[in-house]
Amino acid sequence: MDTFLQQVINGLTAGSVYAVVALGYTMVYGIIQLINFAHGEVVMIGAMVAFTVINALAPAGLPPLAVVLIGTACAVPVCMLVGYSMERLAYRPLRGAPRLAPLITAIGVSIILQHLALMIWSRNVLAFPQIIASRTYFIAGAAITTVQIAILAICVGLMGGLALLVYRTRLGTAMRATAQNPQVAGLMGIDVNRVIAATFVIGAALGAVAGVLFGTYYGLAQYTMGSVLGLKAFSAAVLGGIGNIPGAMLGGVLLGLVEALGAGYIGDFTDLCQYGWLSGAIDACEGGGQFILAGSNYQDVFAFIVLILVLVFRPSGLLGERVGERA
C-alpha cells in the first residue's frame, strides 16, 4: 500500500509540472490553433537561465530560498521575451498561411532554440545547485519532500491564477473573444495582435516557472531536456482536450499518474511467470525466477501511448467538447 501511495505522490508531482507546461500549449492552440512545439524549449531556457543565476549567487551567502526566487525572477522575463520574439518573428508572418506551415516553423524554432542553448550552456548535463535543504516527511510510509510539496503548491497556485486571469479579467475576456473569432473580436475593438502576443508571453512565463521547478526537483538541466518534457506536456494537453485550460490541468495530472503507476507496475503485469499456463513453458521461471516482457524503462512510452489512444478514440480529449471556450 505504501508503494502505491508513493507512486501516486511521485505521479502527482511530475504531473503538476506537466500540467503547467501543458497550459502553454493549450493556450496558444486555443487562440490561434497552432501547436507551438518550441514551448518545451522555452521551459528548458527557463531552467538554464535560473541555473546560471542560482549558480552565480549561491556562494554569495544569501538565504537559499531568496536565491532560487531571484533565479526564477530572472528566468521569467527572459522566457517572456523569448515567447514574444518567437510569436513576432516566426508565427505572426505566417498567420494567414495553411496550418501546416506554422507547425513546421514551430519545429524549426524548437531546433534553433535548442542549439542556441547548446552554444551558450554546452552539451553537458548541468548540475542544478542544490541549495535548498530538502527534508523528507513520511505519510503512511510514503515519502514526500519539501520540494515536492512546494512544487504541488506552486503548480496549483499558478493554475488558479491563470483561471482567474482568463475568466475574471478584461485581458482574459479579450483572449476568449479572440479565440472564438479573431475577425469579430477585432471589429469589437480588441487589438488581436496584442492579445495573441500576451497569450504567448503568459504561456512562456508559466513555462519558465515549470523549468525552474523541474530543475530543482531532478537536480539537473540540459539543453535537450525541453524536447521530451514538451512532448509529454503536449500529450497531456491533448489528453485533456487541446485548447481547453481546465483540460490541460487535468490532462497533466492524469498523465503524471499514468506514467508513475505504469512504470511502477508494468514489470509486474508483464512478468510472464505469474501466469500459470505460461510459466511452465519458460525456463527462466524455474525456482521463482521472472521473465519480464517490458520493464520500467518503458516509462516514457506511456505518455505517447496515451497520446495515440486519445487521438484515435477521442480526438477532442477528455474535456474538449465545449469548443466555444477555447482560450
Binding site: 508503494t3 511530475a14 512545439f37 524548437s110 535537450t224 520493464g295 487521438l311
Partner: protein, 413 residues
Amino acid sequence: MNNKLSITLIAAALALTGCGEQKPPAKTEAPASSQTAAPPPAPEALEVKIGHVGPLTGGIAHLGKDNENGARLAVDEANAAGIKLDGKNVKFTLIAEDDQADPKVGTTVAQKLVDAKVNGVVGHLNSGVTIPASAVYNQAGIPMISGSATNPKLTEQGFKNVFRVVGRDDQQGPAIASYLAAEKKPKVVAVIDDATAYGEGIANEVEKTLKGAKIKVLPREKGTDKTTDWKAVLTKLRGRKPDAVFYGGMDATGGPLLKQGRELGIKAVFAFGDGACTDKMKELAGEAAEGLLCSQAGIPPQAASKNFLDAYKKKFNTDPILYSPFTYDATNLLIEAMKKANSSDPATYLPELQKISFTGATGPIEFDDKGDRKDAEITIFTMQGGKIEPLAVVKGGRTTPYEEFLKTMGGGK
C-alpha cells in the same frame, strides 16, 4: 480536431522526438599541431622514434598532456641511461601528436605516425579513438600500448600488436561486486542499468559475481541513458528492501538516481561503475552522494611508485593527474622489449613485448594472449566529504585496503 490533423500531430510529434535526440557532431577544436619536431640524428647514433597520441586540445586536454608527460619522462630517462642497441648508441625521440579526442582525427594522426616510421606508439587516451586507430597501427605492424583505453573491444579485435597496461571495463563489475559482497555483506541486492552496452555489460558482470557469492539479486530494473525520473523504479525497489543497489550507467543519470533514492528513504548502500565514479556525483546528488561506492580501472596516480612520482614532480613541477603512470610504463615496456630483442625493428621486438615481464610504476606487468594486462588493478572509491577517495584495490580477485596497497608500491621501479 479531425482525423487528418490527428495524423499530422502524431507525425509532427515523432519528427520532433527524432530531432530532439539528434546529437550534433563533436565540436572541432584547433587543428592538430605537432609538438615535437624530430631533431636531426647525430651521425653514428641510431634514432628510435616513439609516438605518443592523446588529446592536447579540447575538454580533456589536461589529461592528454598528463599522458604525454608520462611518456616523455620515460623517454628522457632512457636517453640519460645511454642505451645501446646492436652496438649503436640509441637516441629516443618522442613524437607527440594531438588526436583531439576525435576518432576521425585519431586515425589521421595514426597514419601520420606510421608515415613517419615510428618504432612504437603509446596511446591513445580515449577508447573510442584508440579502437579505430589501432587498426591503422596493426596494418603497419607497429606495436601500440594504451595507458588508458579501458573498453574491452580494443583487445578483442585479434590484433597481435595491440596492448594495454590498464584494466578493462569488464573487470570492474566483478571487482566492485566482490568488494560489495565482502565488505558490506548484503543479503538482497537490486541491480539497475541504463540499457546501454556499457551499463548493461557492467550490471551483468555484477549480477553474475553476486549470484556466485550466494547473494539474492532482485530482477533487473532498467532505465535509459536519458532517464531523470527514477522514482517509479526506486519506489518499486523500496518495497523489496534491498541492502545494496548497484547501478550501471553514467553520472548524469546516476546522480538523480542516488538523490531520489535517498529522498524516498532508501537506506541501502549505492554502488556504481566508473561512468558514475566522478566528483560530479556530489554536484548532481548533493548530500545524498556521501558514502557512495564506485570503481575505476587502474590505480590512482598517487599510488604509483615513489620513484616515478618524485621524478615526475621534479621534471614537470606538478603532480600526475590520472593515467601518466600508465603511459610511463607503456613507454618503458616498448624500450625494454627493444633492449631484450637488441633491435628497434617492430617485427623483431614485438615477440619480446608479448612475453615481457616487467615491474613498472604501476606494479608488475605481464600481458595475456589478447594483449591485456594480467591481473590488472581495479580501485574501489567512496564519496567522502564531496570527493571520490580510494578505499581499496582489487587485483586478481583479492582486495587490498588502499593504505596497504600504497605500502606495497613503495618498492617499485
